[in-house]
């Protein structure tokens, strides 16, 4: 079976579970609350406030949703059944990455209009560029979030995911929030994060007993 087909099956499975368990509700609400709270606290003027608030809301909510997604996978050791199937094991990381991206995109699609409204953000003609930068930022969050949520799985330490991954992602937030002129840097780092994440994920899936 080809890698793309296996990936499609796994992503479809993740989305189906998501629709049943609706684990995205919590993070979404958290993101909305964060956007509202920051909108109340910060003056609307500078574009930075709006983009910064948006990035923070998406980051925190996104990481939370990734953590929940991994928790669902770890429940009843369902992940182990996937690890036994070579076709699934080879594409496990990209499939999880794609599913996380869908979650992140959903959160972004909900929160972005809110922030644009709350902070009276005027993006003008750089909308395409900003959207591209935002998309690349989401890929970075998903790449690191997936591998570290797998690393920290189990009990108390999984709650730590945002604390652990946030320092690594702060520069991405900086670049996106300040409106980086060239997406090339973000693209390069996405490549590095995905590559490192994939290798790390594969390493993590092998326990040493």
């Amino acid at each position: 079976m080809s890698g793309t087909r296996a990936m499609a099956i796994l992503v479809a499975k993740d989305l189906r579970i998501e629709m049943r368990a609706i684990s995205l509700a919590g993070p979404l609400i958290l993101a909305i609350i964060a956007a509202c709270a920051l909108g109340l606290a910060l003056p609307a003027g500078p574009l930075r406030h709006g983009s910064g608030a948006l990035c923070m809301a998406v980051l925190v909510a996104g990481l939370l949703s990734i953590e929940r997604g991994m928790a669902l996978e770890r429940q009843d050791d369902a992940l182990a059944s996937l690890l036994l199937i070579p076709a699934a094991r080879a594409v496990l990381y990209p499939a999880k990455l794609a599913a996380c991206l869908v979650h992140l995109a959903t959160i972004s699609l909900v929160v972005t209009p809110l922030c644009i409204v709350f902070f009276s953000m005027d993006l003008g003609d750089s909308l395409g560029r900003v959207a591209l930068a935002g998309g690349l930022g989401l890929v970075a969050i998903a790449a690191l979030g997936t591998v570290f949520s797998a690393a920290l799985a189990g009990g108390a330490s999984s709650r730590l995911l945002p604390a652990v991954v946030a320092p690594l992602l702060l520069p991405v937030v900086l670049l996106v929030a300040r409106g980086t002129p060239s997406p090339g840097v973000l693209l390069a780092f996405d490549a590095v994060f995905v590559a490192a994440g994939w290798i790390g994920f594969d390493a993590l899936m092998e326990e040493v007993a």
Binding site: K13, L84, P86, R89
Partner: protein, 890 residues
């Protein structure tokens, strides 16, 4: 003293080369080969020694030597003194002769063990070129000629040559020219001795790549130098001498592609032989023209003696090649029944033809002024418009073919184009990105599309290959990627080189079609705007820097950065040397030159150009060199055994390359010295056991003793901390697809229904008709009435039954069950045992853990016990089912 030693070495070098040539007439083959090799080694060593002496003389600024005095001075810094060594005619000849003899020695030493009849001819041909050069040096252009009295100061190197690019440009070109002799020499030797093409075709390729990469890098470095040093804002002027290097390079590229057809299908042999000869001929001819002084060029620095000799040598090579090809034509006939041409082969042939066409156009540009001058006419050049009309369409067409080639079917009959979707979307993305960056010209957009396609297709094809390999062999992604990269180095090198060419195309298109220019005479404080960027003149200053009087203008760019274009008047040179201020970026280069100024600093003429996408040319050239290097690189990882086809008895196992092939009658599980840890504590130490196929083994032990851990190790979910484990005689990872595990937890997704869980597993296992298989399996375990219930809502026993169904769904060869009987009622236990017996009859092996010894003895063929970290067969009263007493392993 230096001079005498240098001359001596030159003579010795020449003698060695002569001996190598003369060896061709000796009696026995072995003597011929040995003598030739000896002569070559002596000759190369001597010439290298002479070169070293020459460079050292420059570094010391030994003004006794005429060559040094002409270009070197004590006031010149050491790096530039070394550059001066090969900026003159004599030094260049010496460099070329040394490199050519090194190439000859490398060819000689490369096949020390195999002696081929044509070898001496090859070596003689290779040795004759440096011999000719030594002859020229000893007669006309002696690098070690001394002056009667050493002058007090020398004449310093021309200021425009004082750039790092000039340190590498001549050596690269010389290397390329030397290496381009090897292919023809190999062909000639084999043809002369009546040997078939298999004696030379594989040996030729590395030399072609080396020559191609060096020449290409040399040309690119030269263009870069022209761009940053000469101050006219361009990098290529279709200068006849530039063409002299370009023509062989194009021919070598055509040769590389022709070799592909030759090797794969055995056609086009005459083509490859002719191209090899043509590359060498035109190298020599180009050098002859460059040194003849018949053409006006910025490269006239290297004009010197030897033109006539080189031209004669070129003619000789051409004549020899033609004679050999015609006389031995039968050896070059295509294979008796060549494989039919696939679309890709046709595309490659068209591409090679286009390349040769471009070479012919460049050659025309090279020959025309020379021919006109020889016949007494006034200097006539070929206008750039000629090249635009011939080169550009050919290059564009070649570029499009190059982009399409990966998609074309590689074997005849397969009509589908692979990767068309990816290619079109990549092209669309490329065009969109270029459009968003402000590019509107269709040709540049087309180049952007080509670049995007060249960048994406190979990566995606490579990624799918790595995934495929990782799945088949069980290696993790990183290991699989390393191995695939190592195995396909040639292809990857070619892809990188093609990507580089696409970058160069983009750069050339952008800088030629979208360039903008503005010139203005500004007073301090006034500004000049070009393509959205503002240059404001601050002032003009005169100062002394090093050995030059410098007039420098300070110009601010867009209000923040400062550029300082200048003109320098070096001591001893009348014409000023421009110092260009360059603001480079990926999108465009801003090129600022101080064109003129008034003496009191009142006004300055600033000439500004915007050259879009120029940086891509240098990036592309670098990539082409890297691609060549990758193609030439040796194998990193040790060669593994090829993947053997799966035997009929072992349908699921495909062994990894490098691992031993599975032994057909190996036990299902073979463990030696196995040690497992759980939670940081050793639960099992030094366990050794074999479990035969088709049996059921039960493992007993108290809670927490390590049964589950052992089962997970056997299921390859966890790695043992020590010892070896073999499943079905091969590596555990390779057997993953044929294992079924029932763990402590049911390993199902709570939020999916039972049926959905099973369908998911069936689809991932690539079972035929997954849905009906799943329904069938659920029915077997009597869960059909609850099939559409979410697993989270099932009771423990029901979930266990669904889990069992999932475990056995794909009829695994190794079934591992952890406490399978928990929660099952007697009916379900009966069904389970029946199914397991059925599978065991077909060869499956079952290992299960139980806590009830009685049940274990009832259903299992063999019982093992884990106690205090040791695994041993259970000691029990004799029964028909028990295994013999086996001593616990130490």
């Amino acid at each position: 003293m230096t001079a005498q030693l240098g001359e001596f070495l030159l003579i010795v070098g020449g003698a060695g080369l002569l001996a190598a040539i003369a060896a061709a007439v000796l009696r026995t083959l072995a003597t011929r080969a040995r003598a030739a090799r000896a002569g070559l080694i002596v000759g190369s060593a001597a010439l290298l020694g002479a070169l070293a002496l020459f460079i050292a003389a420059h570094a010391r600024a030994d003004l006794q030597l005429a060559a040094v005095a002409a270009r070197c001075d004590a006031s010149l810094e050491i790096p530039w003194r070394i550059v001066a060594a090969w900026s003159g005619g004599e030094g260049y000849l010496l460099l070329w002769a040394s490199l050519a003899s090194c190439v000859a020695s490398a060819v000689a030493l490369g096949r020390r063990r195999v002696v081929c009849r044509g070898e001496p001819i090859t070596l003689a041909a290779l040795a004759s070129i440096p011999l000719v050069l030594v002859g020229v040096m000893l007669s006309d252009a002696d690098p070690f000629r001394t002056l009667a009295t050493a002058p007090a100061e020398g004449h310093a190197l021309h200021p425009q040559l004082r750039h790092w690019a000039m340190a590498v440009h001549p050596p690269l070109l010389c290397l390329g020219m030397s290496a381009s002799a090897a292919p023809f020499a190999l062909v000639a030797g084999a043809l002369w001795a009546r040997r078939g093409d298999r004696h030379w075709v594989a040996r030729v390729r590395p030399w072609v790549i080396l020559a191609w990469a060096s020449l290409g890098a040399g040309i690119a470095v030269g263009a870069f130098w022209a761009y940053v040093q000469l101050g006219w804002g361009g990098y290529w002027a279709w200068d006849p001498i530039e063409n002299a290097a370009l023509v062989p390079w194009l021919l070598l590229t055509a040769l590389l592609h022709a070799l592909m057809g030759h090797e794969r299908r055995g056609v086009g042999k005459v083509w490859t032989a002719a191209l090899s000869a043509a590359a060498l001929t035109l190298t020599l001819l180009g050098a002859a023209v460059a040194r003849s002084g018949l053409v006006q060029s910025v490269h006239a620095f290297a004009a010197a003696e030897g033109a006539g000799v080189l031209a004669i040598a070129a003619a000789l090579v051409a004549v020899a090649a033609a004679t050999l090809i015609i006389a031995r034509g039968d050896l070059l006939a295509p294979d008796s029944s060549p494989a039919p041409a696939a679309t890709r082969d046709i595309a490659i042939t068209i591409g090679s033809t286009l390349l040769v066409g471009m070479a012919a156009a460049a050659l025309l540009g090279l020959i025309t002024p020379v021919a006109v001058r020889i016949m007494g006419g006034v200097g006539l050049g070929v206008a750039p418009a000629f090249y635009r009309r011939t080169f550009v369409p050919a290059a564009l067409l070649a570029g499009v073919l190059m982009a399409l080639a990966p998609m074309l079917p590689a074997a005849p009959g397969r009509a589908r184009w692979r990767g068309l979707g990816i290619a079109t979307s990549a092209a669309a993305v490329g065009i969109a990105l270029a459009f968003l960056s402000g590019v509107r010209h269709p040709a540049v957009l087309a180049c952007a599309a080509v670049l995007a396609m060249m960048a994406s297709l190979p990566i995606l094809q490579g990624a799918s290959e790595v995934l495929e390999f990782s799945r088949a062999s069980g290696y993790g992604i990183a290991q699989a990627a390393l191995r695939v990269l190592d195995r396909t180095r040639r292809r990857i090198g070619g892809q990188i080189a093609h990507l580089g060419f696409a970058c160069v195309m983009l750069g050339v298109a952008g800088s030629s079609l979208l360039a903008a220019r503005a010139t203005a005479a500004l007073a301090p404080g006034e500004s000049l705007t070009l393509a959205g960027r503002t240059l404001r003149l601050i002032g003009v200053r005169e100062s002394r820097r090093g050995d030059a009087n410098e007039v420098r203008a300070e110009v601010t760019l867009d209000g923040n950065a400062t550029l300082r274009p200048a003109q320098r008047f070096h001591d001893g040179y009348d014409a000023p040397t421009p110092s260009v201020a360059l603001d480079s970026g990926l999108a465009a280069d801003l090129y600022v030159v101080l064109a003129g100024w008034e003496p009191n600093g009142a006004r300055a003429t600033i000439e500004a150009r915007v050259n879009p996408l120029v940086a891509w040319i240098w990036i592309g050239a670098g990539l082409m060199a890297v691609g060549g290097g990758v193609s030439l690189s040796p194998r990193l990882l040790p060669r593994g055994t090829p993947i053997v086809a799966a035997s009929p008895r072992a349908p699921h196992v495909s062994p990894m390359p490098g691992a031993e092939a599975p032994i057909p009658d190996a036990p299902a599980i073979h463990a030696r010295g196995l040690a497992c840890r759980a939670g940081g504590v050793d639960v099992l130490r030094d366990a050794s056991f074999d479990i035969a196929a088709g049996t059921m083994t039960a493992i007993l032990g108290c809670n927490g003793v390590g049964k589950t851990t052992l089962l997970r190790v056997l299921a390859t979910l966890a790695r043992p901390s020590a010892g070896t484990l073999r499943l079905f005689g091969g590596e555990p990872e390779a057997a993953r697809g044929s294992i079924g595990l029932l763990g402590h937890q049911h390993m199902l997704y709570r939020d999916l229904t039972a049926l959905e869980n099973l369908v998911l597993a069936a689809r991932l296992h690539s079972l035929a008709d997954p849905r009906s298989r799943a329904i069938e399996e659920i029915a077997r375990f009597d869960m059909s009435h609850r099939a559409d219930e979410r697993v989270g809502r099932l009771s423990r026993g029901e979930a266990q039954r669904v889990a069992l169904a999932r475990t056995l769904l794909h009829r695994p060869r190794l079934v591992l069950l952890d406490e399978p009987l928990t929660g099952l009622d007697t009916e379900a236990v009966v069904v389970l045992c029946e199914t397991l017996r059925d599978m065991m009859r077909r060869g499956s092996t079952v290992v299960l853990t139980l806590h009830d010894p009685a049940a274990a003895r009832r259903i299992a063929d063999r019982v093992l016990v884990i106690e205090r970290g040791r695994l041993a067969d259970a000691i029990e009263p004799a029964s028909p089912r028990s295994a013999e007493r086996v001593e616990a392993s130490p």
